[in-house]
Symmetry: C2
Subunit: 169 residues, 2 copies
């Protein structure tokens, strides 16, 4: 592990701790270990992976604690999730090159096109990871409907849990 990676990990860890502390979240043993794992990995682990990693250091942790901690961090805006990730898999029958707008509240997804985006060149460094089939841009935000539905009270975060079961179409 390089120095650079090392320091990044440290920085992330501190960010998580500081953020949690500021929000008045208690820094328990388990949470600290979850933070450490989260900060150290570049794999974007799912809950189970994280759970097993933490379990090595804290044999008694339970999965639900990992879930709760992760979502708490998510609500605080300290971590993000990959993809729309609302409920189940979502399919896309649009075979033309296109990009997505995703509402992080309700999970709405809309296609859009952009010549500039479709013309993007993938960096060579990325090509070393594997073959490149295509590249899509994912724009995240809060859709009009969600904005009006819950008139903004929380500028940053922490309330209005967006998670499961909101969809309005």
């Amino acid at each position: 592990m390089s120095n650079k990676t090392q320091s990044k990990t440290e920085a992330r860890l501190r960010l998580l701790e500081a953020g949690a502390r500021k929000a008045g979240v208690k820094l328990t043993h388990q949470r600290l270990e979850i933070f450490r794992e989260l900060a150290a990995t570049v794999e974007h682990p799912d809950v189970d992976t994280l759970f097993r990693a933490v379990q090595q250091r804290v044999p008694t942790v339970s999965v639900d604690t990992v879930y709760r901690t992760l979502w708490r961090l998510h609500d605080l805006g300290l971590v993000t999730t990959l993809g729309p990730q609302r409920d189940g898999v979502r399919f896309d029958a649009n075979r033309e090159p296109h990009h997505h707008y995703v509402c992080v509240r309700c999970g709405l997804v809309r296609d859009f096109e952009s010549a500039a985006m479709s013309a993007l060149r993938v960096p060579d460094a990325v090509k070393q990871l594997g073959s490149v089939a295509d590249a899509q841009v994912e724009v995240r935000g809060v859709c009009k409907q969600c904005q009006t539905q819950r008139t903004s009270a929380t500028p940053g975060r922490s309330k209005n849990p967006p998670r499961r079961g909101t969809r309005h179409e």
Copy 2:
């Protein structure tokens, strides 16, 4: 519904039918209706949504048929899924602007940076959908490891089901 939308739907529907026929997949009543729904919507529905829509026309369909059809289409390369969508939610503790490389076989995700990508301007049309928090590029392909693991036999698709349970890290 505009003429343009109309024709796009038609085109997609034909694409699905042609693709399925070419692959020797039987065009049953249920499947045709699933195709129709898929081609008509721009919502990127999850299975349940699709299921309920199809159910209106074919009251006897079952969810599992929808699942099977969708994955079959996916294996044929006729539809895509949104996000890595491998197993559960995946978390990202990287707070710096970055982009993702995703292996569509095993679900591996790696971060990378690109000034050009981070500087992308979001089209105005998109801003009308809602607020814009950030934009990330998702590059899809097959990672090195997956490439060597199953020495390419199928150039296009149809074999080597990538779905659940592959992960190698």
